[in-house]
Amino acid sequence: MLLELSEVSKSFFGVRVLHEVGLSLQAGEVHAVVGENGAGKSTLMKIASGAYQPDAGAIRLAGQAVSFRGPREAQAAGVGIIHQEFNLLPERTVAQNVFLGHEPSRRGFVDRGAMHARTAELLASIGADGLSPDATVGRLGVAQQQIVEIVKALALDARVLIMDEPTASLADHEVQVLYALVRKLQQRGIGIVYVSHRLAEVFDLSNRITVLKDGRLVTTLDTAQATPEALVRHMVGRELAHYYPPRATQAGTERLSVSGGGNAKLRGIELRLCSGEVTGIGGLQGSGRSALARALFGAQPFTSGQVLLDGRPIRLRSPRSAVRAGIAYVTEDRKAEGLTPRQSLLDNALLATRAVRPQWLGQRARAANARQLLAGIEVHAAGEDQEIRYLSGGNQQKVILARWLAMTPRVLLFDEPTRGIDVGAKAAVHDLIRRLASDGAAVLMISSELPELLGMSDRIVVMRDGAIAGELPAGASEEDVVGLATGTRAAP
């Protein structure tokens, strides 16, 4: 056994998040860890990589009992981790980031020559020689940053590499690059713990799968023997009757339309969103999907073109103007753009209402309304004034949905609505999106997960290089989408 965690337990603020969990990893093995959000995956990984210390339990590395007092010790022992959120310094260069914490030094001084050379090697070794070691990380795209993140882990010559949701921010073709990389590392005899929500990946890559639920170990099984259905059953403890809710029966009236919309990141946008419809937006990372949502929400407004809302022209100068016009935006990056972490979940749910329709009094009525919404979408928490940062990703996302439901919006923009959310919550969110549509709202949904995109959308608009590459009807195939997105196939 390369790495072995046994009977590991951990609590935060009196809440037990891991109950005597065990996990083992062999050299050259890819061991997937799956489970709903709040199942304790990330906590377990943080313990394995020394970021947290377990309250109880043991860690053995190559048979040796170890106890990491910090990430530094874990790294020294050869345990590297690629975190869910990027751990990079935007102001510093690729090389400086890659070697942060273990800069090569000669006679007490940092050996910048060596640092530069080693970084170049590592980049080359994973076929990313396009990337300069001296590039400032802040100026790189998300995918490139992901590569830096991986190189950073490789620079440690890790024997054990933990990947926590490595594909979360990658588009499908970039995911392929990652697969290749993982297999390459596997051949080098590196043991890889692979945490993911994307079952497809898990089956593609892993030798064994460990399922966690509510901080407990459910089972560990060989991928060969496992089936997706079985896995989902283990994860949520129930069969998922229907994965995607039924589509709209008849297209509604036009709600919002853009003609000739453009700005720094977008050009010639022609788009219509209809009530009762879910319009999916496909495309690669950086193809302008998020830029489109942000333009429609006034966060990075259109500088040209015209927007009609219910037939009336409207200027979306700022998020505020959009919110007032009845547009809602569920962002891609919940932590940075969605939550106000130290406020109670009730306050988070009320944020938009308070910001746009301020009142001196009448707080109670509002609170009551918000409570109903929260209950309606099954948010689980210790109390309504619990700080939201202590909730699981799924529950956090639900609270943010409640924030917008309270505004009864006419148009909803979802950017990766189910990113980092467990299967159970995922279904709930999907149902909710569909319900909102059938209640008459126009929904725009950006997703990098093709199954989700295809499963949810009534129409799919695919973007490429800041423009709309083409539109596909419901029931289009993955190939159609990828083809349009990569430009290998023309619009029908």
């Binding site: 970021a51 751990n87 942060l100």
Partner: protein, 324 residues
């Protein structure tokens, strides 16, 4: 080539202040000339450099604290305290000089350590921690000293008064400190880690940087620099003075100099070169106004405006460069 590009990048963030300095000196020079004086008269240059030296050394120390995302409001009192320790330990005799220097460095390092521990171990906000420590020292000084005390042997006073041509020894001392600091920040792990900690504490920690040690380290350096300034002032004043630091306003002025130099108050960006420029700029403004015999109160106003304007311009440039 690439190293060159790196160096250019490093300069870029702190170039602005030097431009400002050149402009100030030219405009000031003309004004003073029109006023019938000369800004570049030996004596004015000397006093300009002299004035830069004291503030410069503190500000360089402060740069470390700020780069690491912290700050130190206790420096002014550390300066007063160390000036007294120096003068009293020396007690006018050559023999005691080494002891005195050692004592100063030890005490200031100790204070820096205390600041660092309060901030890292007790998680007290740097603003409050250093303010509190400053108040403690202030209380000690007010309780223990009724005015200047101790005396400095003439050999040490030379540090405060001697000069090579128009360049005072004290200025060379500052230059030395500056170079050392630059090397530490650019070329050592500690330097890299300091900037990392200031850039993003969590990233640094998860990358295996011992963030607490780094923060403590920067505070020790900051205090030691204040200690050196205390030594310098003692040599200049021939004695230790319990209010020389606070009256000199070294706490806020050092921070002002650092941000004038383009170092971001939040940390993670900037450097010593800028700080030296910031100090030089403040000194230049000072001297010019002296030459023009401008009402010292009005000078305050200008200082305030300059500081705000400078930082506003940096912010603007960074946004143009498309960074937060």
């Amino acid at each position: 080539m690439t190293l060159l590009r790196q160096r250019l990048a490093a300069i870029d963030s702190t170039r602005g202040v030097w431009v400002a300095l050149v402009i100030t000196l030219t405009v000031g020079g003309v004004l003073v000339y029109a006023d019938g004086g000369s800004l570049f008269h030996q004596s004015s240059i000397v006093s300009m450099l002299q004035r830069a030296a004291g503030l410069g050394i503190v500000a360089i120390g402060q740069t470390f604290a700020i780069l690491a995302g912290s700050l130190d409001l206790s420096v002014a009192y550390v300066i007063s305290l160390t000036s007294l320790i120096a003068a009293e330990t020396m007690a006018g005799s050559e023999g005691n000089v080494p002891v005195a220097i050692a004592a100063v460095l030890a005490v200031s390092a100790g204070i820096g350590l205390a600041n660092g521990l309060l901030i890292t171990k007790l998680r007290i906000n740097a603003f409050i921690a250093t303010l509190g420590v400053g108040l403690l020292i202030k209380g000690y000084l007010e309780q223990g000293y009724a005015g200047p005390a101790g005396s400095v042997p003439t050999s040490v006073q030379r540090l405060g008064y001697d000069r090579i041509g128009p360049v005072p020894l004290s200025f060379l001392l500052m230059a030395a400190v500056a170079v050392a600091a630059w090397v530490v920040l650019q070329r050592t792990r500690f330097g890299h880690h300091t900037i990392a900690v200031g850039g993003d504490l969590d990233v640094a920690r998860l990358s295996g940087v011992r963030t607490d040690r780094v923060l403590i380290g920067t505070h020790i350096i900051c205090s030691i620099c204040a200690g050196i300034t205390g030594l310098y002032l003692a040599s200049r004043l021939g004695a230790g003075a319990p209010r020389v630091g606070s009256e000199g306003g070294y706490d806020l002025e050092s921070i002002a100099a650092v941000v004038l130099g383009g170092t971001v108050l939040a940390g993670g960006r900037g450097g010593v070169a800028g700080t030296v420029g910031g100090v030089a700029l403040l000194a230049a403004i000072d001297t010019i106004f002296n030459q023009l015999a401008v009402d010292p109160f009005f000078k305050q106003v200008v200082r305030g405006v300059v500081i705000i304007a400078a930082v506003a311009i940096y912010a603007l440039r960074r946004r143009k460069a498309g960074r937060p």
